[in-house]
Amino acid sequence: MFYLVNFYVLAALAVISAIFVITRRNPVHSVIFLIITLLSLALLYVQLQAEFLAAVQIILYIGGIMVLFLFVIMLVNLDIVTRQAPFNRQWHVAGLAALVLLAELLAVIYWGRATPTLPQAPPTALQPNTELIGITLFQNYLLPFEIASVLLLVAMIGAVLMAKRR
Protein backbone atom coordinates (compact mmCIF):
# COMPACT_ATOMS: atom_id res chain seq x y z
CA MET A 1 0.00 0.00 0.00
CA PHE A 2 2.75 2.38 1.03
CA TYR A 3 4.65 1.55 -2.12
CA LEU A 4 1.62 2.11 -4.28
CA VAL A 5 0.91 5.51 -2.79
CA ASN A 6 4.54 6.35 -3.10
CA PHE A 7 4.50 5.32 -6.72
CA TYR A 8 1.47 7.40 -7.59
CA VAL A 9 2.79 10.48 -5.89
CA LEU A 10 6.17 10.23 -7.55
CA ALA A 11 4.71 9.33 -10.92
CA ALA A 12 2.36 12.28 -10.82
CA LEU A 13 5.24 14.54 -9.85
CA ALA A 14 7.39 13.17 -12.65
CA VAL A 15 4.73 13.51 -15.33
CA ILE A 16 3.57 16.95 -14.30
CA SER A 17 7.03 18.39 -14.11
CA ALA A 18 7.92 16.66 -17.39
CA ILE A 19 5.01 18.49 -18.97
CA PHE A 20 6.34 21.71 -17.49
CA VAL A 21 9.75 20.94 -18.94
CA ILE A 22 8.43 21.09 -22.46
CA THR A 23 5.99 23.92 -21.97
CA ARG A 24 7.91 26.56 -20.03
CA ARG A 25 9.32 29.43 -22.00
CA ASN A 26 12.29 30.05 -19.78
CA PRO A 27 14.85 27.27 -20.19
CA VAL A 28 16.06 27.72 -16.61
CA HIS A 29 12.60 26.78 -15.39
CA SER A 30 12.67 23.83 -17.73
CA VAL A 31 15.91 22.69 -16.18
CA ILE A 32 14.45 22.92 -12.70
CA PHE A 33 11.43 20.90 -13.64
CA LEU A 34 13.58 18.35 -15.40
CA ILE A 35 15.55 18.04 -12.18
CA ILE A 36 12.34 17.37 -10.29
CA THR A 37 11.41 14.67 -12.81
CA LEU A 38 14.84 13.08 -12.54
CA LEU A 39 14.71 13.22 -8.76
CA SER A 40 11.34 11.49 -8.58
CA LEU A 41 12.61 8.88 -11.00
CA ALA A 42 15.63 8.36 -8.74
CA LEU A 43 13.29 7.76 -5.82
CA LEU A 44 11.35 5.28 -7.93
CA TYR A 45 14.62 3.50 -8.63
CA VAL A 46 15.14 3.15 -4.90
CA GLN A 47 11.73 1.55 -4.68
CA LEU A 48 12.77 -0.79 -7.48
CA GLN A 49 15.81 -1.81 -5.45
CA ALA A 50 18.26 -0.09 -7.70
CA GLU A 51 19.89 2.10 -5.07
CA PHE A 52 23.13 2.31 -6.94
CA LEU A 53 21.42 3.60 -10.03
CA ALA A 54 19.45 6.04 -7.95
CA ALA A 55 22.71 7.39 -6.57
CA VAL A 56 24.23 7.50 -10.03
CA GLN A 57 21.13 9.27 -11.30
CA ILE A 58 21.56 11.93 -8.62
CA ILE A 59 25.30 12.36 -8.99
CA LEU A 60 25.60 12.11 -12.74
CA TYR A 61 22.32 13.33 -14.09
CA ILE A 62 21.36 15.92 -11.54
CA GLY A 63 24.79 16.87 -10.24
CA GLY A 64 26.53 16.67 -13.60
CA ILE A 65 24.50 16.83 -16.77
CA MET A 66 21.91 19.28 -15.54
CA VAL A 67 24.61 21.58 -14.18
CA LEU A 68 26.10 21.48 -17.63
CA PHE A 69 22.76 22.53 -19.08
CA LEU A 70 22.54 25.41 -16.64
CA PHE A 71 26.03 26.48 -17.54
CA VAL A 72 25.25 26.56 -21.21
CA ILE A 73 22.05 28.46 -20.60
CA MET A 74 24.02 31.10 -18.80
CA LEU A 75 26.66 31.23 -21.49
CA VAL A 76 24.32 31.75 -24.38
CA ASN A 77 22.36 34.89 -23.82
CA LEU A 78 18.76 33.80 -23.70
CA ASP A 79 16.85 36.97 -23.06
CA ILE A 80 15.51 36.89 -26.58
CA VAL A 81 14.35 33.32 -26.39
CA THR A 82 11.86 34.01 -23.65
CA ARG A 83 10.15 36.52 -25.88
CA GLN A 84 9.97 34.36 -28.98
CA ALA A 85 7.34 31.80 -29.83
CA PRO A 86 8.29 28.66 -27.94
CA PHE A 87 6.77 26.18 -30.39
CA ASN A 88 7.53 25.63 -34.02
CA ARG A 89 5.08 25.70 -36.89
CA GLN A 90 4.28 22.01 -37.13
CA TRP A 91 3.44 21.67 -33.48
CA HIS A 92 -0.23 20.68 -34.01
CA VAL A 93 0.69 17.78 -36.26
CA ALA A 94 3.60 16.74 -34.08
CA GLY A 95 1.58 16.89 -30.90
CA LEU A 96 -1.22 14.91 -32.43
CA ALA A 97 1.16 12.24 -33.67
CA ALA A 98 2.80 12.01 -30.27
CA LEU A 99 -0.53 11.70 -28.53
CA VAL A 100 -1.49 8.89 -30.88
CA LEU A 101 1.80 7.25 -29.97
CA LEU A 102 0.99 7.64 -26.30
CA ALA A 103 -2.43 6.12 -26.76
CA GLU A 104 -0.93 3.19 -28.61
CA LEU A 105 1.73 2.57 -26.00
CA LEU A 106 -0.67 2.79 -23.11
CA ALA A 107 -3.16 0.51 -24.84
CA VAL A 108 -0.55 -2.08 -25.58
CA ILE A 109 0.78 -2.03 -22.06
CA TYR A 110 -2.65 -2.11 -20.50
CA TRP A 111 -3.96 -4.98 -22.59
CA GLY A 112 -0.77 -6.88 -22.34
CA ARG A 113 -0.27 -6.31 -18.61
CA ALA A 114 -0.93 -9.96 -17.77
CA THR A 115 1.11 -11.40 -20.63
CA PRO A 116 4.49 -11.48 -18.96
CA THR A 117 3.67 -14.29 -16.58
CA LEU A 118 7.02 -14.03 -14.97
CA PRO A 119 7.14 -14.37 -11.21
CA GLN A 120 7.47 -11.21 -9.16
CA ALA A 121 10.90 -11.26 -7.69
CA PRO A 122 11.44 -11.63 -3.94
CA PRO A 123 12.18 -8.29 -2.24
CA THR A 124 15.82 -9.06 -1.57
CA ALA A 125 16.73 -10.48 -4.92
CA LEU A 126 18.84 -7.56 -6.02
CA GLN A 127 20.71 -7.04 -2.78
CA PRO A 128 23.44 -6.09 -2.12
CA ASN A 129 22.90 -3.88 -5.08
CA THR A 130 26.27 -2.20 -5.49
CA GLU A 131 28.23 -5.40 -5.22
CA LEU A 132 25.95 -7.18 -7.69
CA ILE A 133 26.28 -4.41 -10.22
CA GLY A 134 30.01 -4.30 -9.76
CA ILE A 135 30.42 -8.02 -10.21
CA THR A 136 28.17 -8.19 -13.23
CA LEU A 137 29.72 -5.13 -14.80
CA PHE A 138 33.28 -6.32 -14.45
CA GLN A 139 32.66 -9.97 -15.29
CA ASN A 140 30.00 -10.17 -17.95
CA TYR A 141 30.11 -6.69 -19.39
CA LEU A 142 33.74 -5.75 -19.20
CA LEU A 143 34.13 -5.01 -22.91
CA PRO A 144 31.04 -2.77 -23.11
CA PHE A 145 32.28 -1.01 -20.01
CA GLU A 146 35.63 -0.27 -21.63
CA ILE A 147 33.92 0.83 -24.81
CA ALA A 148 31.72 3.15 -22.79
CA SER A 149 34.78 4.71 -21.19
CA VAL A 150 36.32 5.27 -24.62
CA LEU A 151 33.04 6.80 -25.73
CA LEU A 152 33.15 9.19 -22.82
CA LEU A 153 36.71 10.15 -23.66
CA VAL A 154 35.77 10.81 -27.25
CA ALA A 155 32.76 12.83 -26.18
CA MET A 156 34.91 14.85 -23.81
CA ILE A 157 37.48 15.68 -26.45
CA GLY A 158 34.75 16.42 -28.94
CA ALA A 159 32.91 18.73 -26.59
CA VAL A 160 36.06 20.61 -25.66
CA LEU A 161 37.05 21.00 -29.30
CA MET A 162 33.65 22.23 -30.32
CA ALA A 163 33.18 24.62 -27.48
CA LYS A 164 36.65 26.07 -27.82
CA ARG A 165 36.94 29.43 -29.42
CA ARG A 166 38.81 29.39 -32.66
Binding site: N26, V28, H29, I32, I35, E51, F52, A54, A55, V56, I58, I59, I62, G63, G64, V67, L70, F71, M74, Q127, P128, N129, T130
Partner: protein
Protein backbone atom coordinates in the same frame (compact mmCIF):
# COMPACT_ATOMS: atom_id res chain seq x y z
CA UNK B 1 24.32 -1.31 20.61
CA UNK B 2 20.66 -0.59 20.07
CA UNK B 3 19.23 2.63 18.89
CA UNK B 4 18.20 4.72 21.91
CA UNK B 5 15.04 5.73 20.11
CA UNK B 6 13.87 2.14 20.07
CA UNK B 7 12.92 2.56 23.70
CA UNK B 8 9.98 4.57 22.47
CA UNK B 9 8.88 1.91 20.02
CA UNK B 10 6.39 0.05 22.24
CA UNK B 11 4.51 3.25 22.99
CA UNK B 12 3.87 4.17 19.39
CA UNK B 13 0.95 2.92 17.30
CA UNK B 14 2.11 0.11 15.07
CA UNK B 15 1.09 1.69 11.80
CA UNK B 16 2.99 4.88 12.38
CA UNK B 17 6.07 3.36 13.94
CA UNK B 18 8.13 3.16 10.74
CA UNK B 19 7.44 6.85 10.15
CA UNK B 20 7.54 8.34 13.58
CA UNK B 21 10.86 7.00 14.79
CA UNK B 22 12.85 8.24 11.80
CA UNK B 23 10.95 11.50 11.96
CA UNK B 24 11.94 11.88 15.58
CA UNK B 25 15.55 11.18 14.75
CA UNK B 26 15.45 13.58 11.85
CA UNK B 27 13.98 16.18 14.17
CA UNK B 28 16.75 15.69 16.70
CA UNK B 29 19.44 15.85 14.04
CA UNK B 30 17.91 18.89 12.38
CA UNK B 31 17.46 20.89 15.54
CA UNK B 32 20.82 19.89 16.94
CA UNK B 33 22.46 20.77 13.70
CA UNK B 34 20.79 24.15 13.40
CA UNK B 35 22.02 24.98 16.87
CA UNK B 36 25.50 23.71 16.09
CA UNK B 37 25.62 25.74 12.92
CA UNK B 38 24.54 28.89 14.71
CA UNK B 39 27.25 28.38 17.28
CA UNK B 40 29.86 27.58 14.66
CA UNK B 41 29.32 31.08 13.39
CA UNK B 42 29.82 32.33 16.92
CA UNK B 43 32.89 30.15 17.38
CA UNK B 44 34.31 31.38 14.11
CA UNK B 45 33.88 34.98 15.10
CA UNK B 46 35.38 34.36 18.51
CA UNK B 47 38.32 32.29 17.31
CA UNK B 48 39.13 34.66 14.47
CA UNK B 49 38.85 37.57 16.84
CA UNK B 50 41.28 36.06 19.28
CA UNK B 51 43.66 35.23 16.46
CA UNK B 52 43.48 38.84 15.42
CA UNK B 53 43.96 40.41 18.83
CA UNK B 54 40.31 41.36 19.10
CA UNK B 55 37.55 40.21 21.41
CA UNK B 56 34.75 39.44 18.99
CA UNK B 57 31.12 39.51 20.12
CA UNK B 58 30.93 40.48 23.78
CA UNK B 59 27.67 42.33 24.23
CA UNK B 60 24.76 39.95 23.79
CA UNK B 61 24.94 37.61 26.74
CA UNK B 62 28.12 36.80 28.62
CA UNK B 63 30.99 36.73 26.13
CA UNK B 64 28.43 37.23 23.38
CA UNK B 65 26.97 33.78 23.89
CA UNK B 66 23.52 34.87 22.75
CA UNK B 67 24.85 36.61 19.66
CA UNK B 68 23.82 33.84 17.21
CA UNK B 69 20.26 34.03 18.46
CA UNK B 70 20.22 37.80 18.21
CA UNK B 71 21.65 37.59 14.69
CA UNK B 72 19.05 35.04 13.71
CA UNK B 73 16.25 37.21 15.02
CA UNK B 74 17.63 40.25 13.28
CA UNK B 75 17.82 38.44 9.97
CA UNK B 76 14.31 37.11 10.39
CA UNK B 77 12.88 40.53 11.03
CA UNK B 78 14.62 42.23 8.15
CA UNK B 79 12.75 43.29 5.07
CA UNK B 80 12.69 40.69 2.36
CA UNK B 81 13.96 42.37 -0.78
CA UNK B 82 13.59 40.94 -4.24
CA UNK B 83 15.55 42.93 -6.81
CA UNK B 84 13.67 44.26 -9.78
CA UNK B 85 13.99 41.99 -12.77
CA UNK B 86 14.82 39.01 -10.60
CA UNK B 87 13.14 35.72 -11.33
CA UNK B 88 11.19 35.63 -8.09
CA UNK B 89 10.36 31.91 -8.16
CA UNK B 90 13.99 30.87 -8.61
CA UNK B 91 15.15 33.62 -6.31
CA UNK B 92 13.00 32.00 -3.66
CA UNK B 93 13.98 28.47 -4.57
CA UNK B 94 17.75 28.84 -4.64
CA UNK B 95 18.51 29.37 -0.93
CA UNK B 96 16.05 26.63 -0.04
CA UNK B 97 17.90 24.25 -2.33
CA UNK B 98 21.16 25.24 -0.74
CA UNK B 99 19.93 24.44 2.75
CA UNK B 100 18.15 21.29 1.67
CA UNK B 101 21.21 19.85 0.00
CA UNK B 102 23.34 20.52 3.04
CA UNK B 103 20.92 19.11 5.58
CA UNK B 104 19.68 16.05 3.71
CA UNK B 105 23.12 14.50 3.67
CA UNK B 106 23.10 14.22 7.45
CA UNK B 107 20.46 11.51 7.23
CA UNK B 108 23.21 9.11 6.25
CA UNK B 109 25.94 10.17 8.63
CA UNK B 110 26.55 7.73 11.47
CA UNK B 111 26.95 10.03 14.44
CA UNK B 112 27.43 7.00 16.65
CA UNK B 113 26.93 3.29 16.34
CA UNK B 114 23.62 3.78 18.10
CA UNK B 115 22.61 6.95 16.34
CA UNK B 116 22.15 7.05 12.61
CA UNK B 117 18.99 8.10 10.86
CA UNK B 118 19.35 5.56 8.10
CA UNK B 119 22.09 3.40 6.74
CA UNK B 120 21.78 2.44 3.11
CA UNK B 121 23.84 0.26 0.89
CA UNK B 122 25.09 3.18 -1.22
CA UNK B 123 25.32 5.64 1.66
CA UNK B 124 28.47 7.44 0.64
CA UNK B 125 27.34 7.88 -2.96
CA UNK B 126 24.11 9.37 -1.71
CA UNK B 127 25.83 11.79 0.60
CA UNK B 128 28.16 12.95 -2.13
CA UNK B 129 25.35 13.14 -4.64
CA UNK B 130 23.02 15.07 -2.42
CA UNK B 131 25.66 17.46 -1.20
CA UNK B 132 26.63 18.14 -4.80
CA UNK B 133 23.12 19.46 -5.31
CA UNK B 134 24.14 22.48 -3.29
CA UNK B 135 25.64 23.82 -6.47
CA UNK B 136 22.12 24.57 -7.70
CA UNK B 137 21.54 26.90 -4.81
CA UNK B 138 24.58 28.84 -5.91
CA UNK B 139 24.07 28.87 -9.67
CA UNK B 140 20.38 29.59 -9.51
CA UNK B 141 20.80 32.21 -6.82
CA UNK B 142 23.45 33.98 -8.85
CA UNK B 143 21.47 33.76 -12.03
CA UNK B 144 18.10 34.79 -10.66
CA UNK B 145 19.48 37.92 -8.99
CA UNK B 146 19.67 39.61 -12.38
CA UNK B 147 22.93 41.32 -11.50
CA UNK B 148 26.47 40.97 -12.76
CA UNK B 149 28.50 40.32 -9.65
CA UNK B 150 26.28 37.48 -8.43
CA UNK B 151 26.30 35.90 -11.86
CA UNK B 152 30.09 36.04 -12.06
CA UNK B 153 30.34 34.70 -8.54
CA UNK B 154 27.93 31.90 -9.32
CA UNK B 155 29.79 30.87 -12.45
CA UNK B 156 33.11 30.91 -10.65
CA UNK B 157 31.65 28.96 -7.80
CA UNK B 158 30.06 26.38 -10.03
CA UNK B 159 33.27 25.83 -11.96
CA UNK B 160 35.18 25.54 -8.70
CA UNK B 161 32.74 23.09 -7.14
CA UNK B 162 32.60 20.89 -10.19
CA UNK B 163 36.36 20.67 -10.52
CA UNK B 164 37.12 20.01 -6.90
CA UNK B 165 34.39 17.42 -6.72
CA UNK B 166 36.54 15.24 -8.97
CA UNK B 167 39.47 15.34 -6.56
CA UNK B 168 37.10 14.84 -3.65
CA UNK B 169 35.62 11.78 -5.35
CA UNK B 170 39.02 10.23 -5.89
CA UNK B 171 39.97 10.85 -2.28
CA UNK B 172 36.81 9.07 -1.19
CA UNK B 173 37.56 6.14 -3.47
CA UNK B 174 40.64 5.14 -1.52
CA UNK B 175 38.61 4.91 1.68
CA UNK B 176 36.11 2.79 -0.21
CA UNK B 177 38.87 0.52 -1.47
CA UNK B 178 40.08 -0.03 2.06
CA UNK B 179 36.69 -0.71 3.55
CA UNK B 180 35.07 -2.49 0.62
CA UNK B 181 31.66 -0.98 1.22
CA UNK B 182 29.72 2.17 0.45
CA UNK B 183 27.72 2.01 3.63
CA UNK B 184 28.80 4.78 5.99
CA UNK B 185 28.45 2.56 9.01
CA UNK B 186 30.33 -0.18 7.20
CA UNK B 187 33.25 2.16 6.57
CA UNK B 188 33.60 2.97 10.24
CA UNK B 189 33.26 -0.68 11.14
CA UNK B 190 35.99 -1.52 8.67
CA UNK B 191 38.26 0.94 10.45
CA UNK B 192 37.46 -0.73 13.75
CA UNK B 193 38.16 -4.12 12.20
CA UNK B 194 41.52 -2.99 10.84
CA UNK B 195 42.31 -1.40 14.16
CA UNK B 196 43.58 1.75 12.50
CA UNK B 197 41.97 4.93 11.27
CA UNK B 198 42.32 5.28 7.54
CA UNK B 199 44.01 8.64 7.92
CA UNK B 200 47.07 6.80 9.20
CA UNK B 201 47.32 4.60 6.15
CA UNK B 202 45.98 7.03 3.56
CA UNK B 203 47.26 10.45 4.67
CA UNK B 204 47.42 11.79 1.13
CA UNK B 205 43.80 10.95 0.47
CA UNK B 206 42.84 12.61 3.72
CA UNK B 207 44.81 15.71 2.81
CA UNK B 208 43.20 15.90 -0.60
CA UNK B 209 39.81 15.42 0.97
CA UNK B 210 40.54 18.24 3.39
CA UNK B 211 41.64 20.67 0.71
CA UNK B 212 38.82 19.71 -1.61
CA UNK B 213 36.39 20.10 1.26
CA UNK B 214 37.57 23.65 1.80
CA UNK B 215 37.15 24.36 -1.88
CA UNK B 216 33.73 22.71 -1.93
CA UNK B 217 32.50 24.88 0.88
CA UNK B 218 33.95 28.05 -0.65
CA UNK B 219 36.12 28.78 2.32
CA UNK B 220 39.33 30.73 2.44
CA UNK B 221 41.79 30.33 0.67
CA UNK B 222 39.34 29.19 -1.98
CA UNK B 223 36.63 31.71 -1.22
CA UNK B 224 36.75 33.31 -4.64
CA UNK B 225 33.01 33.17 -5.24
CA UNK B 226 32.62 35.49 -2.31
CA UNK B 227 35.87 37.36 -2.78
CA UNK B 228 34.91 40.59 -1.15
CA UNK B 229 37.62 42.66 -2.74
CA UNK B 230 36.64 41.54 -6.21
CA UNK B 231 33.05 40.41 -6.40
CA UNK B 232 31.48 42.16 -3.44
CA UNK B 233 29.68 39.13 -1.95
CA UNK B 234 29.51 36.71 -4.86
CA UNK B 235 26.32 34.87 -5.59
CA UNK B 236 24.42 36.15 -2.59
CA UNK B 237 25.12 39.82 -3.15
CA UNK B 238 21.46 40.58 -3.76
CA UNK B 239 20.15 38.47 -0.93
CA UNK B 240 19.11 39.88 2.38
CA UNK B 241 17.17 39.00 5.45
CA UNK B 242 15.85 35.52 5.86
CA UNK B 243 16.93 34.28 2.44
CA UNK B 244 20.46 35.37 3.16
CA UNK B 245 20.37 33.59 6.49
CA UNK B 246 19.29 30.46 4.66
CA UNK B 247 22.39 30.67 2.50
CA UNK B 248 24.44 31.25 5.58
CA UNK B 249 22.89 28.25 7.27
CA UNK B 250 23.41 26.12 4.20
CA UNK B 251 27.03 27.12 3.89
CA UNK B 252 27.91 26.30 7.46
CA UNK B 253 25.83 23.13 7.42
CA UNK B 254 27.79 22.10 4.33
CA UNK B 255 30.97 22.70 6.31
CA UNK B 256 29.72 20.41 9.04
CA UNK B 257 28.66 17.86 6.44
CA UNK B 258 32.03 17.64 4.72
CA UNK B 259 33.71 17.48 8.10
CA UNK B 260 31.39 14.65 9.07
CA UNK B 261 32.19 12.81 5.86
CA UNK B 262 35.90 13.24 6.47
CA UNK B 263 35.57 12.09 10.06
CA UNK B 264 33.53 9.06 9.07
CA UNK B 265 35.84 8.03 6.28
CA UNK B 266 39.24 8.77 7.67
CA UNK B 267 39.04 9.53 11.37
CA UNK B 268 37.17 6.49 12.55
CA UNK B 269 33.73 8.04 12.92
CA UNK B 270 32.41 7.51 16.40
CA UNK B 271 35.40 5.60 17.75
CA UNK B 272 37.61 7.18 20.32
CA UNK B 273 41.26 7.76 19.43
CA UNK B 274 43.37 4.60 19.44
CA UNK B 275 40.52 2.35 20.38
CA UNK B 276 42.72 -0.71 20.15
CA UNK B 277 44.96 0.54 22.95
CA UNK B 278 43.30 -0.60 26.14
CA UNK B 279 45.43 1.57 28.39
CA UNK B 280 43.73 4.63 26.92
CA UNK B 281 40.35 3.42 28.13
CA UNK B 282 40.24 6.15 30.72
CA UNK B 283 39.68 8.52 27.81
CA UNK B 284 36.05 7.60 28.12
CA UNK B 285 35.87 10.07 31.01
CA UNK B 286 36.71 12.82 28.54
CA UNK B 287 33.11 14.15 28.43
CA UNK B 288 33.19 14.47 32.22
CA UNK B 289 36.46 16.35 32.07
CA UNK B 290 35.22 18.59 29.28
CA UNK B 291 32.05 19.60 31.05
CA UNK B 292 33.88 20.02 34.33
CA UNK B 293 36.30 22.35 32.59
CA UNK B 294 33.41 24.26 31.05
CA UNK B 295 31.88 24.69 34.49
CA UNK B 296 35.19 25.85 35.89
CA UNK B 297 35.65 28.33 33.04
CA UNK B 298 32.18 29.78 33.57
CA UNK B 299 32.80 30.28 37.27
CA UNK B 300 36.20 31.88 36.71
CA UNK B 301 34.81 34.31 34.19
CA UNK B 302 31.83 35.10 36.34
CA UNK B 303 34.30 36.15 39.02
CA UNK B 304 36.04 38.44 36.56
CA UNK B 305 32.89 40.27 35.50
CA UNK B 306 32.16 43.68 36.94
CA UNK B 307 29.92 43.70 39.99
CA UNK B 308 27.73 46.44 38.62
CA UNK B 309 23.98 45.75 38.65
CA UNK B 310 23.62 45.99 34.89
CA UNK B 311 25.93 42.98 34.63
CA UNK B 312 23.77 40.92 36.93
CA UNK B 313 21.91 39.04 34.21
CA UNK B 314 25.11 38.24 32.40
CA UNK B 315 26.69 36.94 35.57
CA UNK B 316 23.63 34.88 36.39
CA UNK B 317 23.54 33.40 32.93
CA UNK B 318 27.17 32.45 33.05
CA UNK B 319 26.67 30.87 36.45
CA UNK B 320 23.64 29.03 35.12
CA UNK B 321 25.67 27.70 32.20
CA UNK B 322 28.44 26.67 34.56
CA UNK B 323 25.93 24.96 36.82
CA UNK B 324 24.42 23.11 33.89
CA UNK B 325 27.83 21.96 32.76
CA UNK B 326 28.67 20.87 36.27
CA UNK B 327 25.43 18.90 36.55
CA UNK B 328 26.20 17.21 33.24
CA UNK B 329 29.71 16.38 34.33
CA UNK B 330 28.54 14.92 37.61
CA UNK B 331 25.71 13.11 35.88
CA UNK B 332 28.03 11.50 33.38
CA UNK B 333 30.43 10.49 36.10
CA UNK B 334 27.69 9.04 38.27
CA UNK B 335 25.77 7.17 35.57
CA UNK B 336 28.11 4.93 33.58
CA UNK B 337 25.36 3.71 31.18
CA UNK B 338 24.71 7.29 30.13
CA UNK B 339 28.42 7.91 29.79
CA UNK B 340 28.75 4.84 27.58
CA UNK B 341 25.75 5.85 25.51
CA UNK B 342 27.10 9.28 24.65
CA UNK B 343 30.64 8.13 23.85
CA UNK B 344 30.01 7.77 20.14
CA UNK B 345 28.30 11.10 19.62
CA UNK B 346 30.83 12.82 21.84
CA UNK B 347 33.90 11.65 19.98
CA UNK B 348 32.25 12.22 16.65
CA UNK B 349 31.44 15.80 17.51
CA UNK B 350 34.89 16.40 18.98
CA UNK B 351 36.51 15.29 15.74
CA UNK B 352 34.12 17.35 13.67
CA UNK B 353 34.94 20.35 15.83
CA UNK B 354 38.64 19.77 15.28
CA UNK B 355 38.04 19.73 11.57
CA UNK B 356 35.94 22.89 11.73
CA UNK B 357 38.65 24.57 13.75
CA UNK B 358 40.95 23.83 10.83
CA UNK B 359 38.57 25.67 8.51
CA UNK B 360 38.50 28.68 10.77
CA UNK B 361 42.23 28.64 11.29
CA UNK B 362 42.80 28.61 7.55
CA UNK B 363 40.56 31.60 7.19
CA UNK B 364 42.65 33.50 9.66
CA UNK B 365 45.90 32.56 7.97
CA UNK B 366 45.77 32.47 4.22
CA UNK B 367 45.38 34.97 1.44
CA UNK B 368 43.10 34.08 -1.42
CA UNK B 369 43.99 32.26 -4.59
CA UNK B 370 43.34 33.80 -7.95
CA UNK B 371 40.77 32.02 -10.05
CA UNK B 372 43.14 30.61 -12.65
CA UNK B 373 45.56 29.55 -9.92
CA UNK B 374 42.75 27.76 -8.15
CA UNK B 375 41.78 25.94 -11.29
CA UNK B 376 45.38 25.08 -12.04
CA UNK B 377 45.87 23.75 -8.54
CA UNK B 378 42.77 21.62 -8.89
CA UNK B 379 43.34 20.21 -12.34
CA UNK B 380 47.11 20.08 -12.61
CA UNK B 381 47.91 19.06 -9.08
CA UNK B 382 45.11 17.78 -6.91
CA UNK B 383 43.45 15.53 -9.45
CA UNK B 384 46.65 13.86 -10.73
CA UNK B 385 47.81 13.27 -7.18
CA UNK B 386 44.39 11.94 -6.23
CA UNK B 387 44.40 9.57 -9.19
CA UNK B 388 47.92 8.42 -8.38
CA UNK B 389 46.91 7.89 -4.79
CA UNK B 390 43.93 5.78 -5.78
CA UNK B 391 46.13 3.70 -8.07
CA UNK B 392 48.85 3.15 -5.51
CA UNK B 393 46.28 2.44 -2.83
CA UNK B 394 45.05 -0.35 -5.07
CA UNK B 395 48.61 -1.58 -5.49
CA UNK B 396 49.06 -1.55 -1.73
CA UNK B 397 45.86 -3.52 -1.27
CA UNK B 398 47.07 -6.12 -3.75
CA UNK B 399 50.34 -6.43 -1.83
CA UNK B 400 48.36 -6.91 1.35
CA UNK B 401 45.69 -9.28 0.08
CA UNK B 402 47.63 -11.38 -2.40
CA UNK B 403 51.11 -11.37 -0.98
CA UNK B 404 50.12 -11.26 2.64
CA UNK B 405 52.19 -8.19 3.50
CA UNK B 406 51.50 -6.06 6.49
CA UNK B 407 48.34 -3.97 6.00
CA UNK B 408 49.69 -0.62 7.05
CA UNK B 409 53.11 -1.27 5.53
CA UNK B 410 51.84 -2.10 2.09
CA UNK B 411 49.56 0.94 2.08
CA UNK B 412 52.42 3.15 3.16
CA UNK B 413 54.43 1.91 0.18
CA UNK B 414 51.56 3.19 -1.94
CA UNK B 415 51.51 6.46 -0.04
CA UNK B 416 55.23 6.97 -0.52
CA UNK B 417 54.87 6.37 -4.24
CA UNK B 418 52.08 8.93 -4.32
CA UNK B 419 54.23 11.43 -2.50
CA UNK B 420 56.93 10.83 -5.09
CA UNK B 421 54.45 11.67 -7.83
CA UNK B 422 53.36 14.74 -5.91
CA UNK B 423 56.98 15.85 -5.59
CA UNK B 424 57.56 15.39 -9.29
CA UNK B 425 54.47 17.47 -10.00
CA UNK B 426 55.51 20.13 -7.55
CA UNK B 427 59.01 20.25 -9.05
CA UNK B 428 57.56 21.65 -12.22
CA UNK B 429 56.57 24.84 -10.53
CA UNK B 430 59.34 27.18 -9.49
CA UNK B 431 59.82 27.72 -5.84
CA UNK B 432 59.96 31.28 -4.59
CA UNK B 433 62.97 32.80 -2.93
CA UNK B 434 62.19 35.63 -0.54
CA UNK B 435 65.30 37.73 -1.08
CA UNK B 436 66.00 41.20 -2.25
CA UNK B 437 68.64 42.01 -4.82
CA UNK B 438 70.89 43.69 -2.35
CA UNK B 439 71.20 46.32 0.24
CA UNK B 440 73.73 48.86 1.25
CA UNK B 441 74.38 52.49 0.87
Amino acid sequence: MTNPFDILAPYLPDVLEPFLLPLLQIGVVFLGLSLIVAYIVYAERKILAHMQVRLGPMRVGPHGLLQPIADGLKLLLKEDIIPRGADSFIFWLAPVLSVMAAFTGFALIPFADNFIVTDVNVGLLFVVGISSLGIYGIILGGWSSNSHYPLLGALRSAAQLVSYEVALGFALVSALLLSGTLSMRGIVEAQIAHGVWFVFVQPVAFFILFVAAIAETNRNPFDLPEAESELVAGFHTEYSGFRFSLYFLGEYAAMVLVSSIAVTLFLGGWTRPFQSWAWLDSLKYMPVALFAFAAYWCVVHERRMPRAPEWRWQRLMLLGLGGGAAVLAVGFAALPPVLNAIQGVFWFLIKVCGFLYGFIWFRGTFPRYRFDQLMRLGWHYMIPVAIANTLFCGVGLVLWRSLGWNFAGSLWIGTLLTLLVALLLAGQTESPEPTLAGQGD
